[in-house]
Amino acid sequence: MTSGVAALWSHRNSLRILVKRDLAVKYQQSVLGYFWSLIEPLGMGAIYWFVFGVLYSRDTGRHLGDAAESYPLFLITGIFAWMWTSSALSEATNALTGQSRLITTMNVPRQVFPIGRVTGRFAEYAAGLPILIAVALVYAAHGRVELGWSLLALPLAVAVQGTLLIGLALLLSAFNVLMRDVERFMRLIIRVLFYATPIIYPLSLVRESDLPGWLKVGYELNPLVGIFQLHHSVWYPDEFPDARLLATTVVGSLLVLAAGWWSFRRLEPAVLKEL
């Protein structure tokens, strides 16, 4: 594994080139260009705000606690991070199949391709951060959120999320070469994950619900739960995951990364023949 990591590091320039290429291709024929990476999550946020912040405002307000006064901020915090997750996963799935030409003629560590997709989508997420911070500052100016040490949860959230996404990207991209079904399947999975993660609703709503205990435990095994709690805790320190949830998330993400790396190495010979 260490030699693989070293090879990857020595090809970080290739990674940069691929990410730049991906972004160039993505935005070259659209007028609004990179603003699309903002418009989409903001639009989604507006929809959920309309449904849960306006129509069901009484129910929503009761469960949000700290965030009741600033639900839009709560929403877009989650949705910006979710866009990174969902687009990284769906694009990483065909990272190898879609670039087979390059992969079969170029001797670079193949891990570069799925990791490049995750990095590219992270760049979009990072580009949206100023908007998020601007919204938070507006709420802070009105005294509805307080900015403090909790801001440090952001780098932690990003690091854990990056770990998890890279692991999943390696796993999915390799499997998709051998079974193209993965691509179709992922669309459903991503939709399920969106609702199975506290993005538009607070975790407390699940914890206090009437779901059977085993289901609640299963729910919190999803590393994304802790990651999104971390994201929310940037503005709402009360949401910071407890020790058990944090441990589950960090360990779970590292395990996924290890599993992804291992199976990528294992599947690589078969994948290369198949491309």
Partner: protein
């Protein structure tokens, strides 16, 4: 004497026809199960051992489908062998496919930076030598450098690909039927460039059906038959073996 620059030992790779039928997760993870091999497996290349020293020029000869291109891909590191090992001590400049890995959506300029960069050329180097590379690729490519590669003819693609590859400083050159699609003028340029690169002491492994190319550039010949290395000698011997197998 220094270690050979390319060293293959008992090299073999197995492909599976009709993989869909026998795709099982267990088989994916457990290689070389050893139990009776499922039907449909075949070895495009097996038990191939050879050593190539720095500065040698090697032609790989064989009929269609005898594993020549597979061998080049193994040397280039874009396939991983199932058996044996291959060691390559040095960077490889491969021109395996006519398209050289270009993405159709991008312009010639972007592809040049992409492919050149992935092959390890620095952005600064590419910028400095951009005009030189493009003018080597010819007037046609020069005019179309900002249109997407989708609209290039195969001749234009191979010219641009060759122009990039020939600028790589890597000591090992791999070429698969490069001169097959170029016109006479481009071929002349190709020859001059390959001569220059060989003059610098690079190692060449060439796959071709063109005997003139083979005898011109290669001194050593590997003759492959049905995935086995049956003859390793001078290029003339290898060509003789090839002619013996293929009635003219």
């Amino acid at each position: 004497m220094a270690d050979p620059i390319i060293e293959a030992d008992g090299l073999g790779i197995r492909f599976v026809r009709n993989r869909r039928r026998q795709l099982r997760l267990r088989e994916l993870f457990i290689h070389r199960g050893g139990r009776n091999a499922p039907a449909g497996q075949f070895w495009p290349l097996r038990d191939v051992s050879f050593q190539i020293n720095a500065g040698e020029t090697v032609g790989v000869i064989g009929r269609n489908g005898t594993g020549k291109s597979t061998l080049l891909r193994l040397i280039a590191g874009v396939l991983i062998p199932d058996e044996g090992s291959i060691q390559v001590r040095g960077d490889v400049a491969p021109l395996l496919e006519l398209s050289a890995g270009f993405s159709n959506d991008l312009s010639g300029r972007e592809n040049l930076h992409l492919v050149g960069g992935l092959h390890g050329l620095s952005a600064g180097y590419l910028k400095r030598h951009f005009d030189e590379i493009v003018s080597f690729a010819g007037e046609q490519v020069e005019r179309a450098i900002d249109t997407s590669v989708r609209h290039y003819s195969s001749g234009m693609k191979v010219r641009l690909g060759f122009a990039i590859i020939s600028h790589l400083p890597h000591p090992i050159l791999l070429m698969d039927e490069v001169t097959a699609v170029g016109d006479a003028e481009f071929r002349k340029k190709c020859y001059a460039t390959i001569d220059r690169l060989l003059g610098e002491g690079r190692t060449l492994v060439l796959v071709s059906h063109n005997e003139k190319d083979l005898t011109r550039f290669c001194r050593r010949g590997l003759y492959l038959d049905a995935g086995r290395l049956t003859l390793d000698g001078t290029i003339a011997e290898a060509l003789d073996a090839y002619h013996a197998a293929v009635p003219r």
